[in-house]
């Protein structure tokens, strides 16, 4: 069950990002420490879309921000384009920023309501002095068109005049302005209506193909993840549970937590019996996580071993890794 | 979370604020141009000045002076007015003047609430109608009318032109209750006017919000009379906000009474501050200002604490 390990790391291949034993902790009051991320490792190969999945509070958003050093993680290493970010000085780190961008969960809150759309998109270009006014203006139009927005209509409006989906398009356009290598998408569609979600997912897919992007896609929604990802990493309470390609993960679920997550995805079939495998209760507090496997308090198969020893990630089939002492079906 | 811990969590910052604020006031004494003792008795001999410096702790360093001042006040020795003919004990002065100021403030609060409650309720009930619009405009205009300007205009109209009351003076209630109340009318009205406007606006906003709550619609749909709905289901919940605000105003009013007491020559604590400045009693002034600040901080903390203990909503939110 939820544990650590690095069996899933791939030394070969064009690795864009390599994260090792990443730890993020926050001080809460005097003696309390929130252990948001506890020793997560993974790598990311150029052109890949890695989905990070877990229920809210499992540390997946914190993980995304920690990769960008916002704020710097408590421990571990983040190696991006063969450069170590965690030990970098302010200046060097700033020089790395254009290559790694982020799209946020709340599309409205991620745009400054005082700025017209043209200025929102121009901001990264101005921060980095990319071209004169004419060039910037041309680039704005290009990006808006790429995001399926009509520049003539959109440019001078402000974010509050738009729907959530449109705001997210603007965010995507902005994140592309600096020609990034990698974009971290933090729940980019979870604040949107289902009808709009598909449009934004398609847009992201288009952008990825067109600009050769590598994506980290953070989500709590397995249905969404299935549509976009090439590899899925399931997280629980700051730890990795299972890593696998999406089809494999669905058809051959190994971790009990993943199984519960898969079981909770609504399937539009009225005749299908309701799955009785839903996990009970709330996740334990990250202030004081359980010993051994962190999922054991809610796991149907938990044993004494789970309390004593933390499971390590191991390969159960090609490209499918699980951190569990008693995987499903074994 | 138990009450004792809540109490401590409030009292510790309160105490530190009091210590730092009073320390800064002591520091101010040291910034006076010249020797404070010489300022207090300009015609006194050097020996007298040395005596006073010793008595007040002014002969010590900044921290020594502060410690002397603080421990004296803490043990109930509030110092003296050093007058040419002798001295007056400040503790006695405070005992005489504080009740007068408190009386003035309480009268003002009572008058303000008496005006504000019916006006606020009626205004909210008739939201958007002409009555509400007029009340709101008038209240908004008067809430910012400075009380001292009001005081001067009132005394011009009612005392000088109409001659209904004396423009200045004070009689204690035990001496002559009728005369006491008569003399208090103008100062109380000057203070209450702005307060009443503030309370009316507050109550109006609160009641309008409450009137939109589902349970009020429910009560109305049961057929309960308007008057009863307004009183039982609307005013009662809204009154907490109003009373909290009124309680928090108590401290601020002490500041406002300084000018009002000076204009109407009412022997309250505010008038004493005015007097101490005029008589160059800088140490007494320091003590009086410090006491007002302590009272203000103490009162606000207590109100905050009480609302937290009595209102389960805030208790839960903070826990």
């Amino acid at each position: 069950m939820a544990g650590s390990g690095k069996a899933h790391m791939r030394p070969e291949g064009d690795v864009v990002l390599e994260v090792n034993d990443l730890v993020v902790e926050f001080k809460l009051g005097k003696n309390q420490i929130v252990k948001a991320v506890s020793g997560v490792s993974f790598d990311l190969i150029r052109g890949e879309t890695l989905a990070v999945v877990g229920e809210s509070g499992c540390g997946k958003s914190t993980l995304g921000k920690a990769i960008l050093q916002l704020p710097k993680p408590t421990g571990g290493s983040v190696n991006f384009l063969s450069k170590e970010l965690t030990t970098m000085g302010k200046k060097e780190l700033r020089d790395m920023r254009p290559a790694m961008q982020m799209i946020f969960q709340d599309p409205v809150s991620s745009l400054d309501p005082r700025l017209p759309v043209s200025e929102v998109i121009a901001e990264p270009l101005r921060v980095w002095n990319r071209g004169n006014e004419v060039e910037i203006s041309a680039k704005i139009d290009e990006l808006l068109l790429a995001a399926n927005l009509d520049p003539a209509v959109v440019r001078d409006r402000r974010s509050y005049e738009f729907s959530g989906g449109q705001c997210q398009r603007i965010s995507i356009a902005r994140s592309l302005a600096l020609d990034p290598t990698m974009i971290i998408c933090d729940e980019p569609v979870s604040a949107l209506d289902v009808s709009v979600q598909a449009q934004i997912l398609n847009l992201l897919q288009d952008m990825k193909d067109r600009y050769g992007l590598t994506l980290i896609f953070i989500s709590h929604d397995l249905a969404v993840v299935k549509a976009v990802s090439t590899r899925v990493m399931v997280m629980y309470l700051g730890k990795v549970c299972e890593v696998a390609p999406p089809e494999e993960l669905y058809q051959n679920t190994k971790h009990h937590y993943t199984k519960a997550l898969v079981g909770s995805v609504p399937i539009p079939d009225p005749d299908r019996p309701i799955s009785g495998n839903l996990i009970q209760g709330e996740p334990p507090s990250p202030l004081n996580p359980p010993s051994g496997c962190r999922f054991r308090t809610r796991c149907p198969q938990a044993s004494d071993l789970c309390a004593q020893e933390e499971p390590q990630l191991r390969e159960v089939s090609l490209g499918h890794f699980v951190a569990c002492h008693h995987p499903v079906g074994e | 979370m138990n009450i004792l811990r809540q109490l401590l969590r409030r009292l510790i910052p309160m105490f530190s604020i009091v210590v730092i604020a009073t320390f800064l006031l002591s520091l101010l004494m040291r910034l006076l141009p010249g020797d404070p003792a010489a300022i207090m008795i300009p015609n006194g001999s050097i020996d007298q000045q040395i005596e006073i410096a010793k008595e007040t702790g002014l002969d010590r360093g900044l921290f020594g002076y502060y410690w002397k001042w603080f421990s004296d006040v803490f043990t109930g020795d509030f110092g003296k007015y050093y007058l040419n003919g002798g001295y007056r004990d400040l503790g006695g002065v405070i005992a005489d003047t504080l009740p007068v100021t408190l009386m003035l403030i309480i009268y003002a609060q009572i008058v303000a609430l008496t005006i504000a409650i019916p006006l606020g309720l009626a205004s909210a009930y008739k939201e958007g109608k002409r009555f509400d619009r007029i009340t709101s405009t008038v209240m908004f205009t008067t809430v910012s009318f400075p009380s001292f300007a009001l005081a001067l205009i009132f005394s011009l109209i009612f005392a000088v032109n109409l001659g209904w009351v004396d423009p200045i003076g004070y009689v204690s209630p035990s001496e002559n209750l009728g005369e006491h109340l008569k003399l208090m009318i103008l100062p109380v009205m000057s203070l209450a006017f702005g307060l009443a406007s503030g309370y009316t606006r507050l109550l109006r906003t609160d009641v309008i919000a409450t009137l939109k709550d589902d349970y009020v619609t429910m009560a109305a749909s049961k057929g309960i009379s308007n008057r009863r709905v307004l009183w039982r289901h609307v005013f009662r919940p809204s009154s907490t906000t109003l009373l909290t605000s009124a309680a928090l105003n108590m401290g601020g009013l002490i500041g406002g009474t300084i000018v009002i007491e000076t204009i109407f020559v009412i022997p309250g604590i505010g008038y004493e501050i005015f007097y101490s400045i005029g008589a160059r009693q800088v140490v007494a002034m320091q003590t009086l200002i410090a006491l007002i600040s302590i009272g203000y901080v103490f009162f606000n903390t207590m109100v905050d604490l009480l609302t937290q203990i009595t209102d389960p909503r805030t208790r839960e939110r903070r826990a």
């Binding site: 916002l70 309501p113 | 101010l28 910012s144 009318f145």
Partner: protein, 301 residues
């Protein structure tokens, strides 16, 4: 490829049009009064009035509408119109300067405290709380009575007293506007566009200038107008207590001087009193207008 944007399927919600709050008659009256006072403060010297500090001993305490003294004279023969004009200048300069400088310093401290957090924020909050724990009239009273102390041995010049008055008022204003700025900046600083700007490599002060300040400014402005009003009241109160600006040079000071003559020349009292009241009320109307406008905008965002 472009989906004509606003007609796409996502446009379920209509485009919100910015609707301005209704300007009431009070707002127009307030604007008119402030303009008049500003005009008098700036260009009052063009009016054919006597010098405000030169008494005319032939006309002691004449009532308003006298042929050579439109607003009458004081009991000591000073022209009221000239005094009001001069008072407007001093009162407006004192309060605007105090609020602009105090508001500027307070906003800077408040915004940076909210942005950088940590120990700096803790210290700032603590200091603000201490300063706010003394009623503002009492605080300026203590500062002024000490810093501008004046007697025969230590005469304080008029300039010194005005400067000290302004400094005391600045000290009073800093925590009031600083706390508002901090609260508002905390709210805006937690928005994701700030994080977005950081993630694209913007520097801290660039973010503060470009994203936080413009969003916080309306809240500061609304309270700033109210602060101008309170500063005018404090100035008047201090003058009445005899430690503000002396010699009838400001409206408050005129009140203090005229108070003793209330029976003989009442216009000495009601003219400056009404000037103070109207100015305070007008600034409050402005502040309220900005606040309502702000609320409307906030509810949209």
């Amino acid at each position: 490829m472009p989906d004509n944007s606003l007609s796409s399927t996502e446009t379920a919600e209509p485009v919100v049009k910015t609707k301005k709050p209704r300007k009431t008659i009070g707002f127009y009256l307030a604007s008119a009064w402030i303009s008049l006072v500003m005009f008098l403060a700036l260009f009052g010297w063009v009016l054919p009035t006597p010098q405000w500090d030169e008494a005319s001993y032939d006309n002691l305490g004449v009532a308003p509408f006298h042929p050579s003294h439109i607003l009458g004279t004081t009991n000591d023969g000073y022209d009221m119109m000239a005094s009001i004009v001069n008072g407007a200048k001093i009162s407006i300069i004192v309060s605007l300067v105090a609020v602009l400088i105090g508001g500027g310093i307070g906003s800077f401290i408040g915004i940076t405290a909210a942005y950088f957090r940590g120990k700096y924020d803790f210290a700032v909050t603590m200091i603000f709380n201490i300063m706010l724990s003394i009623p503002n009239l009492v605080l300026s009273l203590a500062l002024l009575s000490v810093l501008a102390y004046s007697d025969e041995n230590n005469p304080a010049s008029m300039t010194r007293r005005v400067v000290v008055l302004i400094i005391s008022l600045i000290i009073v204003i800093i925590p009031i506007l600083g706390r508002i700025a901090r609260g508002s900046a905390l709210q805006w600083g937690s928005r994701e566009f700030v994080l977005a700007s950081k993630s694209m490599g913007s520097k801290n002060f660039f973010i503060i200038r470009k994203h936080i300040l413009p969003n916080v400014a309306p809240a500061i402005l609304a309270i700033g107008f109210l602060a101008v009003g309170s500063v005018i009241i404090v100035e008047g109160s201090l003058a009445l207590l005899g430690i503000g600006i002396p010699g009838g040079a400001s409206w408050g000071s005129m009140l203090a001087n005229g108070r003793g003559n209330i029976e003989y020349s009442p216009h000495e009292v009601y003219l400056p009193a009404l000037c103070i009241a109207f100015t305070v009320i007008s600034f409050n109307w402005f502040g309220d207008y900005v606040r309502v406008k702000l609320d409307k905008r906030e509810s949209k965002i």
